[in-house]
Amino acid sequence: MTALAVHPVPGAEDGPPDDADEARAVGRKRSTPYLLLLPAGVWLIIFFAVPLVFLLSQSLQTGSLTTGYALTWNFAIYPEAIAQYSEQLIRSLVYAASATVLALLIAYPLAYTIAFRAGRWRNLLLVLVIAPFLTSFLIRTLAWQNILATDGPVTGALQALGVTDLLRGIGLIDGNKLLGTPLAVVTGLTYNFLPFMTLPLYASLERIDPRLHEAAGDLYSTPWTGFRKVTLPLSMPGVVAGTLLTFIPAAGDYINSQLLGSPSTTMIGQVVSGQFLRVLDYPTAAALSVVLMLTILALVTVYVRRSGTEELL
């Protein structure tokens, strides 16, 4: 069917062989790739790309759900929506960025240990990383409600250790409550997207020859310098992939802020879904959705350019 497609041949990169030759050599038709791509491609175009166009168009329409909408090219909705919800938009980005940094700090030692120190336990540990996250996202987030509840064990322990006072001192929480604070939301976000950070990191660390670190030590590096100059740079593709896979869904998430936060921790996802599903103000909701997507795309583009890993895309 698709056999013999890739020939390692000298000079093949000089250009494809001429048509007749190609057809004779591999005996497959030019239309084959398109036929294979067609079903998935059509699906993605109709149910991913086209809806984005509808979303954009919806944002520029005026009217209401009952009276019907008309496209009036109402660009004014964008500055209005942004002005009204800039607080939630910025909060979403800050929470997502904090969760990404925290996830990186937690996942790196984890992935490093699994890749280099786990020995024959490696596969078991990988199972333990993946399996918890195949259990319902919502149920696990609700479990955090239990954990962080005011009379729960974690709150008690933190209070006893004086951490609560410290957190209150730096303004992360009010009173003795953990639930309903930005801290709880970021904890939930970090937790929920941890495997998206851990697995790409592990994949890139696993490919590094441990002898490179030994060679660095042999060449007068302390373990820390060896890590900084050899292991870390080589694991950068994993770092970039992991941060993207964490930041993007975290920025649009509203489950954590809804279940673990309070009205003062509302994120942009909550606003979009509320406007669409409860307030039924479609244009504003669509405009916010478009703004969220463009903001993330812009940030991701800048990030990927700066980290020099365009080939990941």
Partner: protein
Amino acid sequence: MTATVPRATTVPAAKAPAARPPRRGPLRWLREHLVPIAAALAFCYMLLPNVVVVLFSFNNPTGRYNYTWQEFSLDAWKDPCGPAGLCDSLGLSLRVGVVATLLATALGTLAAFAMARHRYRGRSTTNVLVFLPMATPEVVMGSSLLTLFVNLRVPLGATTILIAHIMFCISFVIVTVKARVAGLDPRLEQAAMDLYANERQTFTKVTLPLVAPGILAAALLSFALSFDDYIITNFTASASSVTFPMYVWGTASRGTPVQINVVGTVMFLLALSAVGIGQLVSMRNRKRATR
């Protein structure tokens, strides 16, 4: 040889006084094991909610809220379908998950072969089309699908949920299967053809068995994504089509029944065994794979 022996002993001896003090302290032990300790803490963080889910499935809460531990009870385990609508929502999620998995895996696998194997015009466009759904926040995908369905007057329900699930699973299937196909040594297929296997036999006897683990992994991933999705589902569902995550969300504000923890525990155990078996198989395959 003999001349170097005395030197070799004197050099560390000269440095020894400076190096001695930190040896053998608990601090030194901590410093040497910092990374594994951090990893162990990370594991605790990751597994804590699951422990809580399992634990609270045996709770007998006094009020509506299953927040604080009261007493051990098997009530919820004896009557998992007790709360109205729970098992209906589970049934819908399973049906949607299975159909979405089958279709997304089929469509994605075909596309993955095209992308890994063929040179064609428009490669970069297809790459972007596959990458973008994974880089788009769910709330954007969900809301855009809602505007599509509302504007085209498509009634929301199980069908629209299914359409959405297939859409966001396809990209993950393509990425997973594509990696497997691209990692396949083309010489294996050439060898098969050299050994009298025609194109169809080469595909069924060599290509497909070797790509199968990737397809299976993609299917498992699809099912997990579909079964667990709340945000996109919530945009594409109607009041009468309630999936399990929607049911959980609905109960969150008015007090979740203990049975939800029972379902969570069963899911955790199933996931653990599914991933565990997958790892065992891939371990065996890695051992037998030609270097």
